[in-house]
Subunit: 202 residues, 2 copies
């Protein structure tokens, strides 16, 4: 098994934190996406969409998409559970994981893709939309602050994949000057707690 | 158990098709989102973000987010499996489900939100970004056409939640004149097949 990884993007960090929380170590193949190492003919033969990370299993199967990779490890290494437990618990964590993606991660990455020089010439940037994303990210952080006033972690009393998505989104926001609003004390308390876990360095 | 539903949006249709494929019938509470019935104080007390659909369990727990609702029913009613089987199978379907969301559903709904009069005054529309989404949707349909030349359904030989997301995305594209490109024979063959299933009427 090999994990094709890069340190320059938010999605790979989600998988690295997830593996660290599980206490798992997987052989890494580092790819420098700024040099296009993910888009060589050899890599596109493995993963035609060119995204990173992707996981190559011993039988040659390639699993792309960060959350699909995390889910694979949740199934093969259930402890500690990071996607919830039981029908209701799993649905609950899925709801919060998706909210962290749709309400936070989406806007932070939308801002980056439409405002940052890295994507200039790579995609059709629409700076006006990037600014909408920046404003939405700030609005959603204020909403999340209210949620985190009620409980220690995003989905409840336990750390889950929803915390990983939120942490990575917030930290990646720095690239486009998206920061936790000063008055969001609960969000800051949570951010300090999850950033203090050894997994956050992954 | 009650499913709060609306017929005017793509996400609720995903859940209805999913339930139809499972052969399940859940009591429905219809909400007219054009009249703001999802944003009354009574509804916001249940589901503060105001999205539809959401599922209210008998113990009062509210599960929002379409895929979280589908996952709840997958766990309580495993047959027929629509999220894959086994660690590798579940990761594989998750990969394709997410690709259908990120490569297709996201662009179709991005076009709608930024171009359609329904969202005028409701969100900050950026028509230029809506046009980028329309172009991306067409590009991704051509890519998906190539994938569907290799197998009957999006994730393989069996119908899964990835087909549901792709079907709902493509049908909703009509709202902004996004249509399957003429030359995409495999995508058209697949679309006719999944549209012919009784669940597609849900």
């Amino acid at each position: 098994m090999k994990l094709y990884d890069t340190t320059l993007a938010p999605n790979p960090r989600r998988v690295r934190i997830f593996l660290a929380e599980k206490g798992l170590s997987v052989p890494i193949v580092p790819l420098d996406i700024s040099k296009g190492e993910n888009r060589t003919p050899e890599m596109l033969a493995r993963n035609p969409l060119g995204g990173v990370p992707f996981l190559e299993l011993d039988d040659g199967t390639v699993i792309a998409e960060s959350i699909a990779i995390c889910r694979y490890f949740e199934r093969t290494h259930p402890e500690p559970p990071l996607f919830g437990v039981g029908a209701k618990g799993e649905a609950w964590v899925e709801m919060w994981q998706r909210r962290m993606e749709l309400e936070l991660f989406r806007h932070v990455t939308g801002a980056f893709q439409n405002l940052h020089p890295f994507f200039k010439g790579r995609i059709e940037q629409v700076p006006e939309y990037g600014e909408v994303c920046r404003r939405n990210a700030a609005t959603r952080m204020r909403w999340l602050d209210g949620e985190l006033a009620k409980r220690p972690f995003v989905a409840g009393d336990a750390y889950t994949v929803a915390d990983i998505t939120a942490l990575v989104a917030i930290d990646f926001g720095r690239q486009t000057e998206i920061r936790i609003p000063e008055e969001c004390e609960s969000l800051k308390r949570w951010h300090a707690a999850v950033s203090g876990r050894p997994s956050a360095k992954a």
